[in-house]
């Protein structure tokens, strides 16, 4: 076993162990942090599988953005943990059976009979001056430019949907009313006062007070 393989299996074990901790740990904040560890290990695996750009993106997007979103929501909501814990043991056998059935079905369909590696010849590796990022950008902006734009539209829809779902109008907060702002006329705000010119009034400051 070479050194790279050792690192690979090490991170694979770390990923599976932290994923196991995610589903068994009691506290939701701890689960979110173990999920971050899972993603870090997955990023290391992707780096070893020659997907350098995606590994960095995984750390930036998942650990940077998605995990912060999870932690933000978990800490914003006041969750009663003891009440949620009740059904865990009772549901565990059902969960195991259903999960094993699903995995067995997948292994049957995507098994060696249909997708065996003997059916394909293994290609040779990339040359030394191969750039993963450059090649990814070349394919993404030529062959896959239409799905790329669709993904952008989906992200825009997600932004609008998330804002409109989480937006809450409280009665006490002050809002602008654009209708009344537009409907305002000059006479509502401005009063022109005619002053007599030429006759200077002596100002007595003491009286003014």
């Amino acid at each position: 076993m070479s050194f790279e393989q050792f690192i690979f299996y090490l991170f694979a074990a770390a990923m599976l162990g932290s994923a196991m901790m995610v589903i068994t740990v009691r506290n939701t904040v701890h689960a979110a942090l173990f999920l971050a560890l899972t993603f870090f290990s997955a990023a290391a695996l992707w780096l070893l599988l020659e997907a350098e750009f995606l590994a960095i993106t995984l750390v930036l997007v998942y650990v940077g953005a998605v995990m912060v979103l999870f932690l933000f929501v978990v800490m914003m909501l006041d969750v009663n943990l003891a009440q949620l814990r009740e059904g865990f043991v009772r549901l565990l056998p059902v969960g195991i059976v259903v999960a094993l059935l699903a995995i067995g079905m997948m292994a049957y369909v995507v098994g060696p009979g249909n997708f065996g590696l003997g059916k394909f010849a293994e290609p040779t590796g990339h040359p030394a001056d191969y750039s993963n990022t450059k090649e990814l950008g070349r394919v993404l902006y030529t062959v896959y430019v239409y799905p790329f734009e669709i993904a952008a539209v989906i992200l825009l829809v997600a932004i609008i949907a998330a804002i409109s779902l989480a937006l809450r109008k409280r009665p006490l907060t002050k809002h602008q009313n654009p209708d009344s702002q537009i409907a305002v006329r000059k006479k509502d705000r401005l009063r022109i006062v005619k002053l007599e010119a030429g006759t200077r009034q002596p100002i007595n400051l003491e009286d003014k007070r």
Binding site: F70, V157, A158
Partner: protein, 101 residues
């Protein structure tokens, strides 16, 4: 390819199994979303591994789209969790078993 592809498939299958267990067993809405995240990450691992095996970049492009759609899914579903928690003051899935909101 530094490891055999079978090992990678087994690894991704185990990760998917763990995510599925989180979805099936946990009662917390946020934990269910975390399980979905784990399953999607297992799918991405298979795509990256296949891309490394056949030296084709297309699998990695698919992973980029997977990431974009996962981000959209997480943002919408967490906003829905906030909304549901505001209505019923809980994130227990058993509280949301009726069609009438």
């Amino acid at each position: 390819m530094i490891v055999p592809f079978h090992h990678l498939l087994v690894l991704a299958t185990l990760l998917f199994l763990l995510g599925l267990m989180a979805v099936l067993v946990r009662r917390n809405l946020i934990m269910i979303l975390i399980g979905v995240e784990i399953m999607l990450n297992a799918a991405g691992l298979v795509l990256v591994g296949a891309s490394a095996l056949w030296q084709q970049i297309d699998g990695q492009v698919l992973v980029i789209f997977l990431m974009a759609l996962t981000s959209a899914e997480v943002s919408i579903s967490l906003a829905m969790v906030v909304y549901l928690n505001r209505r019923k003051k809980t994130v227990d899935v058993r509280a949301f078993d009726e069609l009438r909101g």
